[in-house]
């Protein structure tokens, strides 16, 4: 005696959020049943394991049928096969496109190619995220990347409109797309302590300040494509001019004395700041001047860590120290008479400052 067939179809498609999550997490039907049993559904509601199995199978089938539609969420709203109330549609999409920070941290900045996909089993083993779930998340990245790559206009807005995602999720995806496009190195050991959310914040800063779209306002309408995805070439070129801050000895000394005057007495780490000023300044300006090279763009974050964060940390600066230092470091440059590149400096340091703040933790 065996159940040959067992289906349950509602006019309004019934979807259990808990089961949906298990499905998204890549649980097999049997594992999902086990998880649900441990979750205590059976205790709340007097039912047997058979009932749970049957329900789980039904739900899994429904999700599998829905998956095709979830690949282009706009279709979900005007397809006829499943009658799903709008708020449930939103939930389905949002959950489908949600990802695990541990997983995304592994692929962040990597090329979204077949090669990377082949490594997913390693990532799965490393992160504990099931391979199935890894694949779904990876495919989501790739799908969104492919779609927005072709689109004009603001990145976040494009993602939100085409995939009907929440603002938060759209921003995260913008970060992922941005990282994948610029191939930022994030996998080095030194960067391991930085979370995805840190990176996503930094990506947001870069997108908002360093891309063509950032200063857009209709001035550079011509190369509209990818204007949020690629860094503003002109700006990167201008960054070279900042070199004078470290090459001109006078300017460097002047800058240092201004900063030190401002900082004196305000922090315990003053001595270290004074001692390290030239090194740190050289580090930051060098990062700026090298950004015209794609290779160096990729190393942007590792450079920030090596050239600034690590020295500070070894001197036991607190986060407040860093903040204080960078604020004065940035502002003092404005008082330098011979320094003419205030606009570029602000645009550069604004991002650097907020990125470092974000990244400066254990």
């Amino acid at each position: 005696m065996a159940v040959e067939l067992d289906v349950f179809v509602g006019n309004t498609t019934i979807m259990d959020e808990e089961v949906y999550q298990l499905w998204l997490d890549g649980y097999t039907v049997n594992d999902a049943v086990r998880a649900r049993m441990e979750g205590g559904v059976l205790d709340e509601f007097d039912a047997t394991a058979d009932v749970l199995l049957s329900d789980t199978m039904d739900q899994y089938r429904t999700f599998q049928m829905c998956e095709r539609l979830l690949h282009s969420p706009a279709k979900l709203a005007n397809q006829l096969l499943f009658q799903i109330p709008p708020h449930r549609q939103t939930m389905l999409i949002e959950r489908y496109y949600a990802f695990d920070d541990v997983f995304v941290r592994e692929v962040l900045g990597k090329k979204l190619s077949k090669g990377t996909k082949k490594d997913l089993d390693d990532i799965s083993a490393k992160t504990g995220v099931t391979l199935k779930s890894c694949r779904r998340q990876f495919d989501n990245f790739k799908r969104i990347f492919k779609v927005v790559e072709e689109l004009k206009g603001p990145l976040v807005e494009n993602i939100r409109q085409h995939f009907l995602l929440s603002d938060k999720l759209a921003r995260d995806y913008a970060a992922i797309v941005f990282f994948a496009n610029n191939r930022f190195e994030t996998g080095k050991k030194k960067l391991q302590y930085i979370t995805f959310q840190d990176f996503a914040f930094c990506a947001g800063q870069l997108i908002n300040n360093w891309t063509v779209g950032a200063v857009g306002e209709g001035l550079w309408l011509l190369p509209l494509a990818n204007m949020d995805v690629d860094l503003d070439k002109e700006f990167l070129q201008e960054l070279k001019e900042l070199k004078v801050l470290i090459t001109d000895k006078d300017l460097l000394d002047q800058h240092k004395s201004l900063v030190c005057t401002a900082l004196r007495g305000k922090t315990k780490a003053f001595n270290e700041m004074e001692a390290n000023f030239k090194n740190l300044s050289r580090g930051l300006v060098n990062i700026a001047t090298k950004l015209t090279n794609t290779k160096d763009v990729r190393d942007f974050f590792i450079d920030l860590v090596e050239k600034f964060i690590e020295p500070c940390r070894s001197d036991r600066w607190t986060a407040a120290d860093v903040k204080l230092y960078l604020t004065h470091y940035t502002n003092s440059a404005h008082i330098l008479d011979t320094f003419k590149h205030q606009v570029v400096w602000d645009r550069y340091m604004g991002v650097i400052k907020s990125c470092i703040f974000k990244m400066y933790h254990d």
Binding site: M1, L5, Q83
Partner: protein, 1093 residues
């Protein structure tokens, strides 16, 4: 050319990729109606083509308009090879032919392919211009409205109920044609879909013609079924109730009582005394009847109805009725059993049938006779006052051999020429039509035996396995109010006194219709516990819904009896004989089970009883579902007593006592669960004490030979009448166990098989309709009956448990209209399909009472305008010579109509044992001591419970109203329900009937997720297509939805499966009760919106 059909193809979307190279599609569309085809331009390289075609015009007969669907085929253009079909859309344009229904069809339809399922969508506009055709001899019946709903539709009132209409169309099944060997599965499926679409169109048209001839304008309770008879053909048959309906209008809302002069002639006919109209369902002000298209009906409706009165019914005829009524005494059980009537009627019916056939043959149109012949109503709920008394369930079954039929017409039916079996007259008696005729006759005589002149809640169905076919019909014998009938047509002579003083509406229907001194079966009668004036039976079984005005104590629940019987594999006549031998036993046991379960729940009546017996190669499955309730008017049910077979044995006695305790505990628990607290009876009361016969019916296992033990069992302890279960063998013990294992629904859940749950009133608007199918493979080859029973019971119970679990988030809720269908698709497979709706209700039952529609209308004063041209007491006295004594019948070679149509000698044996058994049962019913208890129930109680008991959901305002609105996103939300209403909403317009048939086939079963995945997506697709059609008609809901057929065939080894699904329902526009102003937002302009609430 009485009609012009216009269609416009606007656009497509989400088309599949047909050209792998470009990942695109070059789509174009063919629009076909009849033999005319139009094509759109090719829209190159697009998955979302915009055709925006011109209006394609078809000039056609209205006959074709009714029969043919509009066929839209989407193709991929291919320059070098044949164009590939993407899929099709069939659009039934019937709703457009009715001026009151939809005026345009416009919307997105799923493009459906029988192999690939839904492949994108297409936007289509369809209109019809009808020219007036006053040709009296026309073959079309445009304008006749069809409703699946088995009550008078909301916002309509019945001017007249004309009665039973039936029709049947036969054709060769394309799947079994020689050409099927060379054509593709797709072509074969499409041929079948198209043929069935054509056949149902034709069937509907023919029924419509009959209705017009009767002077009606609508068919209510339209029930269409398919019989896939394999080699011997395809039968599409339908039954319904012809009515003249009139729509309420808002214009004259204040006129509730039209003057006879303003009333349309059709209203006034034959009922000169009245001024009031009967209102159904809704508390709508009545109008004098605005000009509706039906005003222009054939004048026959205002002249005396077409059915001439029959011969005056003499005393003699009624006495012969009584004789007849004695005959099935053997079978009717207490309270009208579910068609256990033994066979002694066969000979008699033969004659009857023959006579009627002759009559039909002689009559130029058999229709008139037919309607009079069968006073059957497919309706299950009625306006107050309509139903006077209910007798009990009547049912009849017959086993037929399909291969024995000589189908003269099939030989030359190659070209889809449709055949009408009604045209095959009496010289070909062995036709399907004659079969049904026979069964209906039997039903009719059963009703007569119960002293009833009509059958309500009538339905018919079949079960086919290879060449054997079981035809079943069932209904509820009833007496309808004679005031609705024309004078002289009603045979009320013997029961006249009952109408002298009108029974109170809330208990009248329970009163026995039959003669107390001449009871058709042994039953225990008592004075009605509500009015104390009339006799009521101890138990009442019916197939109808609980009347709105009925007084109920506590809540109801779903009661199911399940039964499996093994049978030897056999062929032909041997097989048919074996089946007919088994049938009575199955019915008997199902009845016993129902009775026991009813008593276990302390209830005394069953509503919405549906008994299905399905035949397979090696087994028979029986499933009876009903809603049990405690009718306040009926006596409290006695308990169940367990009796040991050998009283001396101490162990045994302890065992018996233990079981007895369990049963008593279960009864007590159930009483609490269903809140059955009937008021305590006191001995002093009005009127004279009624000698209440105390009786005890003993149920025997059908195969236990215990006739010799009759006398030794006299368990007169306890004051209650008890149902005695004897533990004489292991079977009985298992029976008791199974009785006790039926788990009650978990907290927060209720379930019932009827439209609404007695005892629950404040529905909220949340509904969830669902269909579930489960197939079990029985691997164990040497199963016993008991083993099978257990498996089958578990299957049903587990299904219910599954539903409760899945719907746990919607509590408190009630699963309404639980409709189980069983089938044995293959030798070791058992299939159960269920369609039901979960409806949420407000936990706080006291918070709000629905306004009592039923009672305010008052049964007696508003009913006068409903007339019955029907001859409810057909002149059976003249056509049926009846046996005067049971014994005489029993000794004859009696052959039940359940038997194969061929007479076999062995039947006599079988039947006589059966009769013996029943007689034994009758013997055990003895009169006991006189019980003088009576009841002085406070009337206040019954009134208040009456207020509660209207199942109609028209509370004027609901505290809990779902915030969801209908139109959200780009897709209209379409609600579906098997009920005739949607809680919290009001139906403002019926847009037409939905009747769709789909075939889906796959040759890649594994890839589609196995047979479960295949069926899951198919059912979802069917829902989607129904919703799309409703939305295109401008509707937002389907009521009275049902899945008539779900035939699944699989061959996992070949990786193949095929499934056929037939669904039907009424497309409607409904608006939330709370916001009337939304009515105009629903897409269709509605002229008749009630503004009074």
């Amino acid at each position: 050319m009485p009609g012009k059909l216009k269609a416009k193809i606007v656009a497509g979307r989400h088309l599949p990729v047909m050209d792998r190279a470009s990942d695109l599609t070059d789509a174009f569309v063919e629009v076909k109606f009849g033999n005319t085809t139009f094509k759109t331009d090719v829209c190159p390289k697009s998955l979302n083509p915009q055709w925006n075609s011109e209006w394609f015009k078809f000039e056609v007969d209205d006959e074709d308009l009714q029969d043919e669907p509009l066929q839209i085929t989407v193709l991929d253009h291919d320059t070098y090879s044949a164009n590939d079909a993407i899929g099709k859309v069939y659009i039934d344009i019937d709703p457009l032919l009715c001026t009151e229904a939809a005026s345009i069809i416009s919307g997105w339809f799923p493009i459906y392919d029988t192999i690939h399922g839904i492949r994108g969508e297409i936007n289509v506009l369809v209109k019809v211009e009808l020219f007036n055709d006053l040709n009296r001899f026309r073959q079309s019946s445009c304008g006749v409205k069809f409703f699946c709903t088995t009550s008078i539709p909301y916002s309509y009132r019945a001017v007249m109920v004309h009665g039973f209409v039936e029709e049947l169309v036969v054709n060769e099944d394309p799947e079994y044609q020689w050409i099927d060997r060379i054509r593709t599965p797709r072509a074969s499926n499409e041929a079948r879909q198209r043929l069935i679409s054509l056949m149902s169109g034709e069937l509907q048209r023919k029924i419509g013609l009959k209705v017009l001839e009767m002077g009606g304008n609508a068919v209510v309770g339209y029930l269409q079924c398919f019989d896939l008879e394999g080699e011997s053909g395809l039968v599409v048959r339908a039954i319904g109730t012809a009515c003249t309906l009139e729509k309420f209008s808002s214009g004259s809302a204040s006129i509730t009582c039209p003057h006879p002069s303003t009333a349309p002639p059709s209203n006034a006919c034959n009922s000169p005394k009245d001024g009031k109209e009967l209102v159904f369902g809704e508390e709508l002000p009545l109008s004098s009847g605005p000009p509706t298209p039906f005003r222009a009906l054939p004048s026959s409706s205002s002249s005396p109805p077409p059915f001439s009165p029959s011969k005056p019914c003499s005393r003699q005829s009624s006495s012969s009725d009584t004789d007849l009524s004695l005959t099935p005494k053997t079978g009717m059980g207490s309270g009208g059993s579910a068609g256990k009537e033994a066979g002694p009627l066969k000979t008699l019916l033969r004659q009857q049938t023959q006579t009627t056939l002759e009559q039909r043959g002689a009559s130029s149109s058999g229709l008139l006779l037919n309607a009079r012949e069968f006073p059957f109503f497919t309706l299950t709920s009625f306006p107050p006052g309509f139903l006077v008394h209910v007798g009990g369930v009547v049912s009849a079954r017959s086993v037929k051999l399909l291969d024995r039929i000589h189908n003269p017409a099939l030989g030359n039916a190659r070209s889809y020429k449709l055949l009408d079996w009604n045209s095959v007259t009496a010289d070909e008696p062995e036709t399907r039509d004659a079969w049904w005729e026979e069964i209906r006759q039997e039903i009719k005589s059963h009703a007569k035996a119960l002293g009833c002149h009509a059958v309500v809640g009538y339905s018919e169905n079949t079960s086919i396995c290879e060449e054997v076919c079981i035809l079943s019909a069932s209904g509820t014998a009833a007496i309808l109010n004679p005031r609705y009938m024309r004078e002289g047509c009603l045979d009320v002579g013997s029961i006249d006194h009952r109408f002298d003083d009108p029974s109170p509406p809330n208990c009248g229907f329970c009163h026995i219709p039959y003669d107390e001194l001449n009871m058709p079966f042994p039953a225990q009668l008592a004075y009605c516990y509500q009015c104390r004036r009339q006799k009521v039976p101890d138990v009442l079984f019916t197939t109808i819904d609980l009347p709105a005005e009925a007084a109920v104590t506590g809540k109801g629940c779903l009661i199911q009896a399940r039964l499996c019987r093994l049978k030897k594999k056999a062929q032909g006549e041997v097989n048919a004989t074996a089946i007919s031998n088994l049938l009575p036993f199955m019915e008997y046991e199902l009845h016993t089970q129902l009775m026991n379960k009813l008593k276990l729940r302390s209830m005394n009546a069953l509503f919405g009883l549906h008994i299905q017996i399905s035949v397979g190669e090696n087994m028979l499955l029986g499933l009876a579902s009903a809603t049990g309730v405690y009718l306040t008017a009926l006596p409290a049910p006695g308990g169940i007593q367990i009796a040991g077979k050998t009283p001396g044995d101490l162990n045994n006695e302890q065992h018996v006592a233990a079981i007895q305790k369990r049963i008593n505990d279960a009864i007590a628990k159930n009483k609490e669960l269903y809140q059955i607290n009937p008021p305590e009876l006191t001995d002093e009361g009005v009127g004279s004490p009624i000698p209440e016969p105390r009786q005890r019916s003993r149920i025997f296992r059908s195969h236990s030979e215990s006739s010799d033990e009759l006398s030794e069992l006299d368990l007169s302890h306890g004051k209650k009448d008890a149902f005695v279960l004897e533990i004489d063998d292991t079977d009985a013990v298992e029976d008791i166990h199974s009785l006790l294992t039926d788990a009650p629904p978990p907290a927060g859940f209720h379930s019932c098989s009827t439209e609404t749950m007695p005892g629950i009133y404040n529905w909220t608007s949340g509904i969830q309709m669902f269909t579930s199918v489960r197939v079990l493979r029985l691997n164990n080859t040497n199963l016993t009956n008991q083993g099978l029973n257990k498996i089958f019971t578990d299957l049903c119970e587990n299904l219910l448990k599954s539903f409760y679990f899945k719907l746990r988030s919607t509590v408190p809720c009630c699963l309404c209209h639980l409709n189980f269908t069983v089938a044995v698709p293959e030798e070791e497979l058992v299939q159960v399909s269920v369609t039901a709706v979960a409806m949420t209700f407000d936990k706080d039952q006291n918070q709000e009472k629905p306004p009592e529609k039923a009672t305010t209308k008052g049964g007696s004063e508003t009913e006068d305008q409903l007339q019955f041209p029907l001859e409810l007491s057909a002149d059976s006295s003249s056509t049926s010579p009846q046996p005067s004594k049971i014994s005489g019948v029993a000794e004859n070679t009696i052959v039940s109509t359940r038997a194969v149509s061929v007479d076999y000698g062995s039947f006599a044996d079988r039947c006589s044992t059966w009769l013996e058994l029943l007689r034994l049962k009758a013997h055990t019913i003895r009169r006991g001591s006189v019980k003088t208890s009576r009841r002085t129930q406070s009337l206040a109680h019954s009134v208040s419970s009456l207020e509660h008991c209207s199942p109609l959901p028209e509370g004027r305002s609901r505290s809990l109203c779902s915030s969801r609105s209908f139109g959200v996103g780009s897709v209209t939300m379409v609600k579906m329900t098997p009920l005739s209403f949607l809680p919290g909403t009001r139906i403002i317009k019926y847009l037409g009937i939905i009747n769709m048939f789909f075939i889906r086939e796959t040759t890649s079963l594994r890839e589609e997720g196995g047979v479960s995945g295949f069926l899951h997506s198919f059912i979802a697709e069917v829902f989607a297509m129904v919703r799309a059609h409703v939305a295109a008609l401008g509707g937002n809901a389907v009521v009275s939805y049902s899945m008539k057929d779900c035939v699944l065939m699989e061959n996992p080894n070949k990786n193949q499966a095929q499934c056929l699904i037939n669904v039907s329902g009424d497309a409607v526009i409904c608006v939330r009760e709370t916001d009337q102003e939304q009515t105009t937002n629903t897409g269709q302009t509605c002229g008749t919106i009630d503004g009074a609430t």
